[in-house]
Symmetry: C2
Subunit: 140 residues, 2 copies
């Protein structure tokens, strides 16, 4: 699939998986809700920011800004599988207009955030690579 | 959730996301079908092993054996979210009884593989850490 189609699939997905690298150089992966807009993806630390897991994601991004985010579709008919992987540089933002913007985009996409905005911080990913695959296009 | 419950959720899941580290130290994440059995998880390079993507996963594991595998549940009612992350050491196996065993376990779980066994190689992950989270247990 082309990059436009891939980013369209990403922007419509409700959940993605964010892979980071921890301080010891090991991979780490968590599910995230997110908003995608052209060349940036934003996600927030939403549940219990003081937990180890949430803090770990933020610490990982600070130590290793490269991240990889995956959106995929699974069903038992494997001729209908597809996935899109987005790679980029991430940063953590806790205040200011970029933070407010990210929260507004997340609230626009997720009704759940309109009732209860996430405390943040937010992670902003500047996308520099988009790779998509579909079983049908691959001739499965 | 306790580790037994977490591994039960993993073993019943149909798809997981495998995070690895590439030769340049960047995170990489792909969806995988897999079989989990006690302390090992196996997955196969199934579609078109000569593609860049499939080879990359195998190359990543050779260069950086640490991997992280995520199983998660998403729905719009966020009080029902859960995920399980499994960390471990991976190796690639292309022949022999460990390879045959892995394919047999994958075929037992996925009817799709019974019609068309994956060419392999397989990736075998020796699990050393299991972390589970659920919104309900977290008091969301």
């Amino acid at each position: 699939m082309d990059e436009g189609e891939a980013m369209r699939l990403v922007s419509h997905a409700r959940v993605a998986r964010l892979a980071t690298i921890d301080s010891e150089g090991r991979p780490h992966v968590v599910p995230v809700v997110f908003a995608a807009d052209g060349r940036h993806i934003v996600t927030a630390v939403d549940h219990k920011p003081k937990t180890t897991t949430a803090l770990k994601r933020v610490g990982n991004v600070a130590a290793h800004p490269r991240v990889s985010l995956l959106v995929d579709h699974y069903e038992e008919d494997w001729t209908r599988l597809w996935w899109v992987r987005v790679d980029g540089e991430a940063k953590t933002v806790s205040t200011g207009s970029e933070f407010d913007d990210a929260l507004a985009r997340l609230a626009a996409k997720y009704e759940q955030y309109r009732d209860q905005p996430p405390p943040g911080p937010v992670i902003v990913v500047a996308v520099d690579r988009v790779v998509g695959w579909s079983a049908s296009a691959a001739g499965a």
